[in-house]
């Protein structure tokens, strides 16, 4: 429980330092913007989405939740090697994608699989990536949950933290040079705000006046390290001030607030008014990934209040309150999502377990170098001599 003491200590330190700050001023400058109240009601003037759009987005959120839960089970069964999902952060993901235009490029972190799916990546293709099998669009080159989907302008995921931030700025500058109406969006967590490329990207965004949207899913935890040990700033949004870009702080579990902030940021970017940092205040309800067990560092009582703020529960309450959904209708959509996932897994698992041997060397360069051609031949010869060379998974 040392970690819990660390958190308490960090909080005490923050309390001591509070006298040098003015939280009220920060709250004025970066208020937590909310539209969807806890009871599921919302001011119709602020909702910003049509009933049909809300229902469609809610369906995506349900699919994402069911998918995350099912994939964790598959990982526990040993059918996939690893999984990292977005449980509790669905409003932050789908609200921001919904605020974009189709031509806008997404520079993902590693929890925005829902964005790839919403942009048209077939679910079975996504599962093939998790399996790293012959149907994997990434040719088995990356571990699970590191997909790319070019037809949906969903750029490839890497594990190094915050590298996508300056990349998104580069894409925005490129679109400006080409005269395209395209506003890139980069996702990252609050842990990434400690990484050098976050600072570099924010600075480049400010100086270049690039039209880009930087979405921080502040879920409170970078594996075991809580926000308090990640930054001494009261908010993530306030970091925008130092770089001369806009900052907004929204309830990340409120689909409407996230969507509105993204749409505002997009409009500003498209109008040549530069970048926006959007802090989505949310919470990681589960472990970091299937390789993590949060019980080792996070007391359950910290999580419980956030379960009550579950973004899907809140949105469901809204839909039911508006008479757009019944309890039976909701359960039917959940059941339908589970069936869609079951079929996708079945379809994905029908592929050969491994991609063809030559894919090992495919795409390192546009054309393989002589070294790679020689090495492929060497590998083939070795497998012919002893099939165990190709054995195992």
């Amino acid at each position: 429980m040392r970690r819990v003491r660390d958190i308490e200590e960090a909080r005490r330190r923050k309390g001591l330092e509070a006298s040098t700050r003015d939280p009220a001023k920060l709250e004025r400058e970066f208020p937590l913007q909310r539209v969807l109240r806890d009871d599921g009601s919302a001011d119709p003037a602020e909702v910003g989405l049509s009933d049909a759009e809300i229902l469609e987005t809610w369906r995506w959120m349900v699919l994402s939740r069911e998918l995350d839960e099912r994939m964790v089970t598959l990982q526990r069964q040993g059918r996939i090697g690893f999984y990292i999902g977005a449980i509790g952060e669905e409003a932050a993901v789908f609200g921001s994608v919904a605020g974009l235009q189709k031509q806008d490029w997404i520079f993902p972190s590693y929890r925005e699989h829902g964005a790839a799916l919403m942009r048209g990546m077939p679910l079975s293709t996504f599962v093939c990536d998790l399996l790293g099998n012959a149907g994997d669009r990434m040719l088995g080159h990356q571990m699970p949950c590191h997909e790319a989907w070019r037809p949906g302008n969903f750029v490839s995921i890497s594990a190094p933290i915050a590298t996508q931030v300056p990349q998104a700025i580069g894409a925005a500058v490129a679109a400006r040079i080409k005269g395209d109406d395209m506003v890139p969006l980069a996702y990252f967590g609050e842990g990434a705000t400690s990484a050098n490329d976050f600072h570099t990207g924010m600075n480049f965004a400010g100086v270049s006046k690039a039209g880009v949207i930087l979405v921080c899913r502040n879920n409170g935890w970078a594996i075991s390290v809580p926000l308090e040990l990640q930054t001494a700033s009261e908010t993530i949004a306030q970091k925008s001030l130092a770089y001369g870009i806009r900052g907004e702080r929204v309830d990340g579990n409120d689909l409407f607030a996230v969507h509105n902030a993204t749409r505002r940021a997009r409009a500003r970017a498209a109008a040549g008014e530069g970048a926006t940092l959007i802090e989505c205040v949310t919470y990681r309800l589960e472990g970091h990934s299937t390789s993590d067990d949060p019980r080792a560092y996070r007391p359950p009582e910290l999580v419980e209040p956030w379960r009550k703020k579950d973004p899907i529960v809140r949105l469901t309450r809204y839909l039911e309150g508006r008479g757009l959904l019944t309890a039976e209708g909701s359960e039917a959509v959940h059941a339908e999502a589970r069936e869609t996932i079951r079929k996708a897994v079945e379809e994905a698992e029908a592929h050969e377990a491994k991609p063809a041997l030559e894919t090992l060397f495919e795409g390192v360069y546009a054309e393989p170098l002589w070294q790679q051609r020689e090495q492929l031949e060497e590998l083939r010869t070795a497998i012919e001599a002893d099939p165990r060379v190709a054995g195992g998974r």
Partner: protein, 324 residues
């Protein structure tokens, strides 16, 4: 035909490629109005404007990270890292991102760019203005690495690199930036990547070098000729892709190999060339393959002439392998 130095040849190549292809953009520290601290981008901002010749904030990872986004979106960025010694803050972007984008996306997102950077010692620059970090990048699958030694190759190789589909590290030998002069054709021409050049034919020993050290190797071969030693000299020009056929063909002929580079010896690219040659020429070798290199130290200030593999040290190696 005009006579140019390497800086002028690089500038000429950049200008021609920017005129030819509106997607070519330049970004880096001081590259705009000032034209670069070595003046390689002089006049380009004036001709092509600040949208395509971009003065960036002082952050190498930002320069390369921004270039990645540009490349993915269809531009052909030519970022400049002011000194190769300062490329390390951008290593994560180069090694984890630039080199891997095509591969990790299953070919969906190529990331072609040309990272230009002056490298090498002999200019009294100490640790941080003298290093030759090429081996790091050759060791990273997905990158190409090119090092011209003269103005003609600098222009032709840079044009090829800009037109290439893969990311290229383009190391410019700053020790001979202005000293190496030569005739350079006007207009476009390409020197292909992956082709070494035999600059001096010989029968007794093959001396291999690139960049600034080619000039030292050439000098050593001339001096060896005075001793009656007939040395062949090869300018590698492109380290990845590597023209192994030209190298191994020469060593099969001469039976002896001397590899010269100014980077430290251990795990330097000479080690790879040596391994490749012994795999291919084992039965034809008359003497052990010898490396004449910088030493396993940080690049020194006062004793840099002792550190650099200059002609006298190469000459000794040539004599030693011939007498073996």
């Amino acid at each position: 035909m005009p006579t140019m130095n390497i800086i002028q040849a690089v500038n000429d190549a950049l200008r021609l490629e920017m005129r030819r292809d509106p997607n070519v953009v330049i970004l880096g520290e001081d590259v705009g109005k000032f034209g670069g601290v070595f003046r390689a981008t002089q006049g380009l901002e004036q001709e092509f404007g600040t949208a395509r010749v971009i003065d960036t904030p002082l952050a190498e990872s930002g320069i390369i990270g921004t270039a990645v986004g540009m490349a993915l979106y269809g531009l052909k960025p030519v970022p400049e890292i002011q000194f190769a010694d300062f490329i390390f803050p951008a290593m994560d972007q180069i090694v984890s991102e630039v080199a891997k984008y095509r591969y990790r996306s299953g070919g969906q997102y190529p990331c072609p760019m040309v990272i230009r950077t002056p490298y090498g010692g002999g200019i009294r620059g100490g640790h941080y203005h003298s290093q030759s970090p090429e081996a790091h990048f050759i060791h990273t699958a997905g990158l190409k690495v090119v090092v011209p030694s003269n103005p003609y190759d600098a222009k032709g190789l840079l044009i090829s690199a800009i037109r290439d589909e893969d990311p290229v590290l383009f190391f410019e030998p700053k020790r001979v930036y202005r000293a190496a002069k030569g005739e350079v054709p006007e207009g476009e021409y390409a020197v292909p990547l992956g082709k070494a050049r035999v600059t001096r034919e010989g029968s007794q020993v093959t001396v291999m070098a690139w960049g600034a050290m080619w000039h030292e190797a050439d000098q050593a071969a001339r001096e060896a000729a005075d001793d009656g030693i007939d040395a062949e000299v090869i300018d590698l020009r492109s380290l990845q892709p590597l023209d192994i056929d030209t190298l191994s063909g020469s060593v099969r002929k001469t039976g002896r190999a001397v590899i010269v580079h100014e980077a430290p010896r251990t795990c330097g690219f000479g080690a790879e060339i040596s391994a490749l040659l012994q795999e291919r020429c084992f039965l034809r070798l008359e003497a052990p393959i010898v490396r004449v290199t910088g030493f396993d130290t940080p690049f020194p200030y006062t004793l840099e002439n002792e550190y650099l593999p200059r002609a006298p040290r190469i000459l000794k190696a040539i004599r030693d392998v011939v007498a073996y």
